[in-house]
Amino acid sequence: MTIKDLVKISTTSLIRNGVRSWLTVLGVIIGVASVIAMQAIGNGSDESIKKEVRSMGVNVIMIFPGTFRMGGVAQSAGSMSVLEVEDAEKIKETVKTVVAVSPIVQSGQQIVYQTNNWRSNVTGIWADYFTIKAYKVSSGRLLTEREANGMSKNCLIGKTVYKKLFPAGSNPIGETIRVGTVPMKIVGILEAKGSGTFGQDQDDIILAPLKTVQKRLLATTFIQQIQVSAKSEAKMTQAMADIRAYMLSKPNIISSDGEERFSIRSQSELSSMLGSISKVMILLLSSIAAISLLVGGIGIMNIMLVSVTERTREIGLRMALGATDRDVKIQFLAESIMLSVWGGILGIIFGYLISLLAGSILNWPVTVSSSSILLAFTFSAVVGIFFGYYPAKKASELDPIEALRYE
């Protein structure tokens, strides 16, 4: 029996039982389509999380005074003095794996413009901070390096602050607001970043030159944090090690109980945590999809068993005419594989359409990967072989004399 004969025989027999074949194929279609769609949606959510992480900045490394513990920051006495502006300067000068460095101080302040007021976080920064956090303005301009690194009284405000202080929507550029006790001039509005990973409003912010915030608002020389942008994602680990080496070279950096008085964290730690959440989600969705494929396979087995019983006489006849047990087995296997492969092909098409639809509804970058198509297709063919084997074996083991007499 040639392949052509096999295809012809199984096609005619499937077409003869049209409705039945379609319903069986439908089971596989649903299974394969859900594998494809779930993979695509899972990858989409992963991609959207990655995008969110990227919005937090470019290869960001954060240096904090004190040691991170579960549940919060333990700060020993005087730990604030561990980090100084000088450290930021030195890191920028000596660590070759970083491209941008900015010390940071933050302070909650009452902001007043005419009759409106709002409490927001004022963040003192260097101009490098815009690079690190990928900040852009939606109107006006960013602070120049001279302004940000000097004692200028110009500042940038986020969308939320703008809405609260300028409810009428008038142009804020050039207007002077009072931050705490200090009058400052608005030079730009930051492009909206939306809510962060943990739901905080990333637009409720005022960015001002570091020195201005330190000297005028807080009257302190300390900084709370240094943020650094590594040269590339690949250089992250090296950059963290370099920074650590620099920090350890500082005097008095190890506390009396042997703990380092600073900690270095990176954004990639956060992104890998979020990534593992989305992996769990993909796994969950994929296993649901796999179960539906399994159910589709059971449908194939069921219908093939019915088919074998119905065609007992045909099997007996074929054997009498010279078909071997192997010929019979292959014939029925071909039918079940054909069912599952057609289910696979149509399922891939449907899954692709579902993914496109889901992508446009959820506004995620949903992508159907070729590997998931290959996986779904292989899986459906395997399902056909696996669930078709038992009925085919049963057919091949029939006794020709009894099969011919079967009514």
Partner: protein, 240 residues
Amino acid sequence: MKPVIQAENLGRVFDNGTVRVEALKDVNFTIGTGELVAITGSSGSGKSTLLGILGCLDRPTSGKYILDGVAVAGMQNRELAALRNRKIGFVFQSFQLLQRTSALDNVELPMLYNPSIPEGSRKKLAMEALDRMGLSDRALHKPSELSGGQQQRVAIARALVSNPKLILADEPTGNLDSESTASVMEILSGLNKSGTTVVIVTHEPDVAARCRRVISLRDGHIITDQIQEPKNFADAIRVT
């Protein structure tokens, strides 16, 4: 005369653990090339069991069966299948045609399992066989569109398409009216005259009377094995 069938002390016991049935006991006979033989007996005489063994669909539990020089007893299922395909043409009482499949495709069926026949010549051979049965104009009809006699002739075409040594017919006229019976018997004896060995299993005395040799079975063994002058069917009405 070279023997096609040699049965030596054939025995077949069915044993399902609780019941033991001796369906065939010590059956001996030889059928030579070109013979037309009827195997008769009432139901339960063992003729169906014997047919199963002669058709290589079953194996004897004792004794020897040699088909066209090949000892069947120790063969694997796959070898038996090949033997059936090359050496035997079956004709059944209920025709055993695939429904919803054209006469031509039905006749082509045995060649699917014979790799020595090239795919390209199958249709031609099948058509020739149908032509010999006078059915070339019905090649594309399905069995349900044919009369009983025509269906049996399609089945005979299928049996002779691969040029078998032996045609085994199991009650070939059991489902036919007398006209079709005459026609089918004429065809079978015609095939016999052109050299094919034909063995007909039947319980109809009419059919047996038309064969030169009649082997009668009862309770699993041969009671008579006689040569007779077959009735002539020259006056039978040929139905096409």
